[in-house]
């Protein structure tokens, strides 16, 4: 089945975290920069109230989401003609000022694309692949010895600990989403609110290798840090939940109904999309169809 088209109305100015959000939204729709000839559009997303205003004649009364950077923009968006738009922002203060404003983390990852792996299972996987028990992986910027981008997830999943290069905020969040024991510098950690000894280890560059090695060997500490790191990402830096909320409110995804309560229970438990228990739960409820 062809996914519905989400028409994009782009105005002047930076799009901020919208690009990251759109990548996650593409699970439910096809974001498409609007131009004549695009074809039927199921819903619209505007990068500002002005872009939404400029697109009034093409979007009609279809569902609309509007990005707002500040409270004045929020008010302008609320005054737009047509059905009340879904309002998106990366500013918590703006979100607090309006009902139902979706808060999108300015630094975020799709937490459903990574599965939390604790140290005792990382060790099993490394053993299966003949990898060393101590496997500290450096992730981040380009440079000699850096891993190719496509190997990043595998490395983060298998590593005994992950060293994150300075400034690589997204890589740090990805590693934390894998519940990897992480070591990073103070500035990068501060960007995402990471606390030393709670979600990760903060260290100077010259100390990182040894600290990462030691952390990978200390399963108690590493498991605790990895678990809280994953929760930190889920609570404060996850793009999946705001994206799914936007998708539902724009009519691009099925709304939560009583019949989906079991699925919701499984989602809350972090159940993998292709987990056998999902199939079994659906089968158990088949008589209600």
């Amino acid at each position: 089945m062809t996914p519905p088209v989400l028409g994009l109305l782009v105005g002047a100015g930076p799009t901020g975290p919208l690009a990251s959000l759109l990548r996650v939204l593409s699970a439910w729709c096809r974001p498409h920069l609007w131009r004549p000839g695009v074809g039927p559009v199921a819903a619209w997303m505007a990068t500002s109230p002005e872009a939404a205003e400029a697109g009034t004649s093409v979007r009609g009364r279809q569902p609309l989401a509007v990005w707002v950077d500040d409270c004045p923009a929020l008010q302008r968006a609320q005054a737009l003609e047509g059905p009340a738009p879904v309002l998106l922002t990366a500013d918590p203060a703006v979100a607090a000022n309006g009902d139902g404003v979706v808060l999108v983390p300015s630094d975020g990852v799709d937490s459903t694309r990574s599965l939390p792996l604790p140290p005792f299972l990382r060790a099993c996987w490394r053993d299966r692949f003949g990898l060393p028990a101590d496997l500290v992986v450096a992730v981040g910027g380009p440079g000699p010895g850096s891993l190719p981008e496509e190997l990043g997830p595998t490395a983060m999943a298998l590593a005994s600990a992950v060293k994150v290069e300075a400034g690589c905020v997204t890589r740090l969040l990805e590693a934390m989403a894998w519940a990897a024991p992480c070591v990073a510098d103070a500035a990068t950690s501060a960007r995402i609110g990471g606390r030393h000894g709670v979600e990760l280890i903060i260290a100077e560059p010259e100390e990182m290798e040894q600290l990462a090695t030691d952390l990978g060997r200390d399963w108690r500490r590493a498991t605790e840090l990895g678990r809280t790191a994953r929760r930190h990402v889920e609570c404060l830096h996850d793009l999946h939940h705001p994206a799914s909320e936007v998708a539902i409110r724009l009519g691009l995804a099925d709304p939560v109904t009583p019949a989906r309560r079991m699925t919701t229970v499984l989602d809350v438990l972090g159940t993998a999309p292709d987990a056998e228990i999902r199939r079994r739960a659906v089968a158990a409820l088949a008589f209600t169809a």
Binding site: L115, L121, D127, E224, V265, L269, G270, E276, R280
Partner: protein, 318 residues
């Protein structure tokens, strides 16, 4: 768990025990956990004890953890775990780890039955639980008696309880000490065969399951209790032995037993070899005064244990 219900009742609260059946095959492990998510519990407080009951949803959930499903964690290599080192098994274990963490994080307070379980919880799930110790069954009925000619062990006859270690240790004794292993399990026939092979069948008694009165009598008349399971969660047998003023002979890898037994104080901690266990038993057989001294120290160690502090903690009042 019945004792906990009684303890709540004695404290003036109405408590009910809720159980659901569980299927232990790896592919069906999540069924009962999911069922617990959907069970409606109308209560002021819910206390969940072990997997999968801690998946229950309740605004006031307190977990007093006896154990997770150890087969997915530290017991994965054991024959009984049902898990292999293949991709599917690793993913099931990963999923269970994630589910367990989320369900346990929901608890308003997280306790464990012992420091061993707390350490396991931290090592495998990254969660911190507070040990909360409780009295064993028959606490008020166990009594002391003469230090007789047999070493006693009431236990399930299964691999993790290591009853074969006790039978093998009997072969290393030079005294006339007897060994009484009470309990049922899959290892019964192999234990008897081992005893015959080692020439100690005449000194081994395996009465099978015994009732409470007989259990109390056997504790009372024993020289000592030999109890050396592998990485035990808690170890009621240890506490029951001490309540009967009997010393405990155990092994250095017996887990929760070692939270109570101190070598040379109230028991003997061996390296877990049959030779060392046999030597420890002989030592007590040849020195009844030592057995009494260690046993009475054991009694002192557990004499104050009561249910009231446990109830108060679980209610959030302690």
């Amino acid at each position: 768990m019945e004792n906990l219900v009684d303890a709540f009742a004695q404290a003036g609260h109405r408590a009910e025990l809720v159980r659901l059946p569980v299927a232990w095959e790896p592919t069906r492990l999540f069924d009962a956990a999911l069922a617990w998510r959907m069970v409606p519990i109308d209560a002021d407080l819910v206390v969940a004890i072990n997997f999968p009951s801690y998946f229950v949803q309740h605004p006031r959930k307190v977990v007093w953890l006896a154990h997770q499903h150890r087969g997915a964690y530290d017991g994965a290599d054991a024959q009984w775990s049902g898990f292999a080192a293949d991709d599917a098994s690793l993913e099931i274990r990963r999923q269970l780890f994630d589910w367990d963490c989320r369900a346990l994080e929901e608890a308003e307070r997280l306790y464990t039955i012992s420091a061993v379980v707390a350490d396991r919880l931290l090592r495998y799930n990254g969660l911190r639980g507070t040990p909360l110790y409780h009295p064993p069954p028959l606490r008020d009925r166990l009594r002391s008696g003469p230090y007789g000619d047999y070493v006693f062990c009431p236990t399930r006859l299964s691999e993790n309880k290591r009853p074969e270690l006790l039978v093998e240790s009997l072969a290393w004794t030079s005294s006339d000490v007897r060994l009484v292993i009470a309990g049922a399990g899959v290892l019964r026939d192999s234990l008897l065969a081992t005893a015959r092979r080692l020439g100690v069948a005449d000194r081994l008694e395996m009465p099978g399951y015994i009732d409470d009165e007989t259990l109390i009598d056997r504790f009372a008349g024993a020289l000592a209790v030999a109890y050396a399971p592998l990485d035990e969660d808690y170890g009621y047998v240890t506490l029951q032995a001490f309540l009967a003023s009997k010393p405990v002979v155990t092994a250095c890898d017996s887990g929760g037993v070692l939270e109570w037994v101190q070598d040379g104080v109230n028991g003997i901690v061996t390296d877990g070899t049959p030779a060392a266990m046999g030597a420890a038993i002989d030592r007590l057989f040849g020195d009844r005064d030592l057995a009494r001294q260690l046993g009475e120290a054991g009694r002192e160690r557990v004499g104050d244990q009561a249910w009231e502090p446990v109830v108060n903690c679980l209610l959030g009042a302690g």
